[in-house]
């Protein structure tokens, strides 16, 4: 019973963190205006993302309930989240087309006729359920990897750019070394070395993905370091750590936000590619697409598995990219003054 507790705590922490972030954004006028502008420009895309986030959170909140009489005990114990519970018992024996009342092959009557809006897969699992489960995996891959990547890249990039000299040499050497290896090979090697798990996929994606943003952060720090307000801070006797925290990092935040949003979609896509290679994360849309490959050659064709996963992936990434473009326009230093 530990797993559900941890899962609930994590979900709670994420929720609280989201609210804290929201409050922090509301309190800073620059960010408040930027988010307000974003909401004005991209209400639909933001709504879509909120929907996916909501589904992912529901999928993370464990449902703790006793086993009722007549329920399949194994299924109940496996069903841990709210979403799992909602789809409990929607099991069929084999393929069913969307809204069908009989099995796709053979025509045997379904246990829940007409209750599968996206059909079922070869094992009789509801495709809508699997698709909704995929949202959590996608957000986890994108979010967790970014959470590893961005602080890492900021740490190395800012210290390399700010202090220069030997630190810069070391960071640049590491970056060049990583950048000189083929990304996909490195990714596969890392996942193989660490074993297949969600965390190891995230770490592998982070290790191969931090170089780009690190270089960006380093370059921007090099520029900021020479600016008059940093010089002025030194002339007023501000210490180096304080200059970095107060004058360098806040001026990199727009880059962080833009990079996060744009990196997110890239990461989710990378995971789909990894799944296609057979080393992705269980339950991801990439895996659904991979499984659906063979179904396309069946006759009559099984199209709903591929379509559901592909559409979910497409809609999420489209929304993220729309938001990302808008964020970049709003936070771009060159247009910052006109917008705020």
């Amino acid at each position: 019973m530990q797993a559900w507790l941890i899962s609930n705590l994590v979900a709670g922490a994420l929720f609280a963190g989201g609210i804290a972030l929201g409050v922090a954004v509301r309190r800073n006028r620059l960010w408040r205006e930027a988010t307000g502008e974003l909401a004005r420009r991209r209400p639909v895309a933001l709504g879509v993302i909120a929907l996916f986030v909501g589904v992912a959170l529901l999928d993370s909140v464990a449902w703790v309930g006793g086993v009722e009489a007549g329920e399949d005990v194994v299924a109940v114990l496996e069903a841990q989240s709210v979403i799992d519970r909602a789809f409990l018992g929607f099991q069929e024996k084999s393929y069913s087309a969307p809204f069908a009342s009989a099995e796709f092959y053979g025509g045997a009557r379904l246990a829940h006729p007409g209750r599968h809006p996206l059909g079922t897969d070869i094992l009789g699992r509801d495709v809508l359920y699997l698709t909704l489960k995929g949202a959590r995996v996608a957000l986890l891959i994108g979010g967790l990897t970014s959470l590893i990547t961005i602080p890492l890249a900021l740490l190395f990039g800012v210290s390399a750019g700010y202090f220069g000299g030997r630190i810069d040499d070391v960071v640049f050497f590491v970056m060049s070394t990583l950048a000189s290896m083929p990304g996909l090979l490195l990714l596969i090697a890392l996942i193989m070395a660490m074993g297949r798990s969600t965390l190891s996929v995230c770490i592998a994606l982070a290790v191969t993905g931090w170089v780009g943003f690190c270089r960006l952060a380093r370059g921007e720090t090099l520029k900021l370091r020479e600016l008059d307000y940093v010089q002025a801070a030194r002339a007023l006797g501000v210490s180096e750590p304080r200059i970095i925290l107060r004058h360098i990092l806040p001026n990199l935040m727009h880059l962080v936000v833009v990079t996060f949003v744009l990196m997110f979609s890239g990461l989710v896509l990378s995971e789909a590619i990894l799944s296609w290679l057979g080393i992705g994360v269980d339950g991801s849309w990439g895996q659904m697409i991979d499984r659906a490959r063979d179904e396309l050659s069946r006759d009559p064709i099984i199209w709903w598995n591929l379509s559901a996963a592909g559409a979910a992936l497409f809609v999420l990434l489209l929304a993220v990219n729309f938001v990302g473009d808008a964020v970049r326009d709003i936070l771009d230093p060159r247009t910052l003054r006109e917008n705020l």
Partner: protein, 325 residues
């Protein structure tokens, strides 16, 4: 004369193609309480590096090679870094050329002034904010209370420069180094800022080291003037001496090239050539390549400073000869 700032033999070098070159080479300055000294020169003559060297803020790969800087009687060149940080802001403060970039764009201006205050003073955030408001009023920012919560991009250039000055004054420095404080502003605002600096100096009794290439600004504000050329001070004296009776050929040429003194319809006088790059300085007097009164000795040896009055010196063989005859 009690001086708050004494600089002796200051030399700062930067690496060039042919090894390290002293961009500032043996500069002596002296600044009394409540006095304004203007450091004048063309671009690239080492004015700003001199100022940064005094605060020990020379950017890498520059290096201070020699010299003593005494601030309020205390030698500060050898101070440890943490001690030096305490000197900056509290005893000597600096304002920069560009008010547009001298303020952090993502922090409210009030918070930036509060930060400057709390660096050097214990006390609550509220007390610091009250002090910030007082400083804003002191630098004549209209609607000071509202402006505390403004972001830099919401202020005009002149207001930004006032905020910068307020920050520099936060810890009551004895010396204010102003690196071209009005260059980036338009003319009407320039006059206001100069007026403000003059008032603040009168009220607070601080000394100002004014770095500029604008002789008009010098005439407005300076008590004494030091003219710099190619890393050396070539002429120094009171404002009346240097601007009224310039002796060094460079100062004379500089004054002749001022549009305000030129006659209408006449071609403006200019100094032929450009300041030689550091490292390409001629042997002997550094002005010898452009000097109208150049003699053989100028190309062979560097002139020493010749004392023309208790306050007036010029570094020129021709001036020394005139004086001798």
């Amino acid at each position: 004369m009690s001086s708050v700032l004494e600089v002796e033999g200051l030399a700062t070098s930067f690496p060039m193609e042919r090894g390290r070159v002293a961009v500032v080479d043996g500069v002596d300055l002296c600044l009394a309480r409540g006095e304004t000294l203007a450091l004048v020169g063309e671009s690239g003559c080492g004015k700003s590096v001199t100022a940064l060297s005094i605060l020990r803020l020379v950017p890498k790969p520059g290096r201070i090679e020699a010299g003593r800087v005494r601030l309020g009687g205390r030698e500060i060149q050898g101070l440890p870094v943490t001690e030096m940080r305490r000197v900056r802001g509290r005893e000597i403060s600096m304002i920069f050329q560009e008010p547009q970039t001298s303020l952090n764009p993502v922090v409210r201006v009030g918070a930036q002034v509060v930060e400057a205050i709390r660096l050097h003073e214990r006390g609550s955030r509220e007390a610091a904010r009250a002090r910030a408001l007082e400083l804003f009023e002191r630098v004549r920012i209209p609607d000071a209370a509202e402006r505390l919560d403004a972001y830099p991009h919401e202020l005009s250039g002149g207001l930004k420069q006032r905020v910068v000055i307020a920050m520099a004054l936060a810890a009551h420095p004895k010396v204010l180094v102003a690196d071209e404080p009005t260059t980036a502003l338009d003319v009407t605002i320039q006059a206001q800022i100069l007026e403000l600096l003059r008032e603040l100096q009168r009220e607070l009794g601080m000394a100002i080291l004014l770095i500029t290439h604008d002789l008009g600004v010098v005439n407005e504000l300076a008590d004494r003037v030091a003219v710099m050329y190619a890393g050396r001070i070539v002429e120094a004296g009171t404002r009346a001496e240097v601007l009224g009776q310039p002796r060094h050929p460079y100062t004379q040429a500089l004054l002749r090239s001022m549009p305000a003194l030129a006659k209408r319809g006449e071609r403006l006088a200019e100094i032929p050539g450009t300041v030689p790059w550091p490292g390409n300085w001629p042997a002997g007097c550094r002005f010898s390549t452009r000097c109208p009164r150049v003699m053989d000795v100028c190309r062979a040896r560097e002139p020493e400073a010749t004392r023309l009055s208790p306050t007036h010196t010029a570094r020129c063989f021709a001036v020394a000869q005139e004086l001798a005859t």
